[in-house]
Amino acid sequence: MISNRFKTDAARVCSEIIQNPRLNGLWRGKVLKAGLALLMLLTMGFIALPVASLLLKNPLDTVVQTLHDPMVVDALRLSLSTSAVTTVTVVLLGTPLAYINARFRYPGKEIADSLIDLPVIMPPAVAGIALLMAFGRMGIVGHYMDGLGISIAFTTLAVIIAQIFVSSPFYIRQARTSFEDVDISMENAARTLGASRIYTFFHVILPIAFNGLVSGAIMAFARSLGEFGATIMFAGNFQGRTQTMPLAIYTAMQGDLDVALCLALILVIISFLVIVIVKTLTRRMYENVRN
């Protein structure tokens, strides 16, 4: 009896909701919001769970102990030093290129642009083979360099070359966008005020684009730090010489899991910091541009 009355009441409420367009809209909105919230939670959970597991499976005292492991020390030192050299090289070589592509038109610009972006979508293993074919002992350039007594493949230099190859598009693309965002009238104003192109570049364009360039450089640094495929193919996996952090994680997984977890944690922390810094700098850059 009660059940029947409840059913009747429920049916009445449902029919009221369906018939009343305002209530109907309200319910639809709530259902939609709840659905979206659930979807968001699932996605966030999917990303957060592996990162959290890494933290939970890594007791702090074990991390501190593992930090003294020679394999960790060597990998950390090599990764940081090669990534720093790579970033400086990419900035020095990429900045003029990004500026030229942002400001000037020239024959074959589209091809040049595509070529710059190619390493982003190229599978890392393919990049490794390509580098070997170019700079390896039997490679097109490497063959001649070998004749001069210079060997590149399987050295620390090979690590840097592989990192430059895969990380340069991250900097060049960001730098180009930053230069494009600098109003051309600023450049023109500087020149009518007596500044040469070089003076204008260093005193007007570069400071305005600076935040964007820094975030591009940080992205390139982070990409270098995480580089694995091209490095193992082109530089090999020798502790202290070519074994960077990702390679050390790969090696340690076959033996000491604590070392692998410790290195993975360091990489996660660096990646998180990179995202925070890049986001802050990019937001500042767009605020400046908007003003």
């Binding site: 109003d183 023109n188 104003a189 020149r191 009518t192 040469s196 003003n291």
Partner: protein, 237 residues
């Protein structure tokens, strides 16, 4: 004396202008959007290159296609106030005004004295340390003008210098602008869309239509040009 006789092929028409502007004369250049006014200023400043012709300032050739002369913008000594003012956002008001003196490698003491003079005169000394992006539209206009005048230019180009200001500020600025430009005693070209700018600031007016000078006359005559002049309602009031 500024002498211009240039041709340049633009996307929709050919820009072909022949003009003479005397020392101390202010020429008001009016015309529809896209008729070539800003392009003409850029050709004179050296920011764009004419296809042919000659631009001379006091018999000094800035551009001459026959003699193959094309002086770079930084050597022309032209004061240019851009439509958006183009102040350097990362620099203070002081550094913006000092920029043209630093490129001329003046001593620090000379720069300080000159910048102080110009900022005092423009009523900007109190905000000298403010970033150029943090000041009001009227202040930006005065900074842009001070930056263009401090280099003692041989020619002044102003691209809609009052358009970014509200109507009350525009009225106050017109007399000030005319006084300051006349004090320089150099040829000047001002691009505008406002009839009041023409009558209050100019000594002569030119109507540019599809890249060619269609009419020239005294500022008071502009009213009689009637429907050919592309002024908005606020301009004809």
């Amino acid at each position: 004396m500024l002498e211009i006789d240039v041709k340049k092929k633009l996307r929709d028409f050919d820009l072909q202008v022949k003009l003479r502007i005397a020392e101390g004369e202010i020429l008001m250049l009016v015309g529809d959007n896209g008729c070539g006014k800003t392009t003409l200023l850029n050709l004179i400043a050296g920011l764009q290159c004419p296809d042919s012709g000659r631009i001379a300032l006091d018999s000094r050739a800035l551009f001459d296609s026959e003699l193959k002369v094309n002086m770079i913008p930084e050597e022309r000594n032209i004061g240019y106030v851009f439509q958006s003012y183009a102040l350097f956002p990362h620099m203070s008001v002081y550094d913006n005004v000092a920029f043209g003196l630093r490129t001329r490698r003046l001593s620090r003491r000379e720069i300080e004295l000159l910048v102080k003079d110009h900022l005092d005169e423009a009523g900007l000394w109190d905000i000298r340390k403010a970033k150029a992006i943090d000041i009001s539209g009227g202040q930006k206009q005065r900074v842009a003008l001070a930056r263009a005048l401090i280099i003692e230019p041989d020619l002044l180009l102003l691209d809609e210098p009052l358009s970014a200001l509200d109507v009350r500020k525009q009225a106050a600025m017109r007399k000030d602008l005319r006084k300051k430009i006349h004090a320089c005693n150099v040829p000047s070209i001002i691009v505008t869309h406002d009839l009041r700018d023409v009558s209050c600031i100019g000594d002569r007016a030119c109507l540019l239509e599809k890249g060619k000078i269609a009419l020239t006359g005294e500022p008071d005559e502009v009213m009689s040009w009637g429907s050919q002049v592309p002024f908005g309602r606020e301009g004809s009031n």
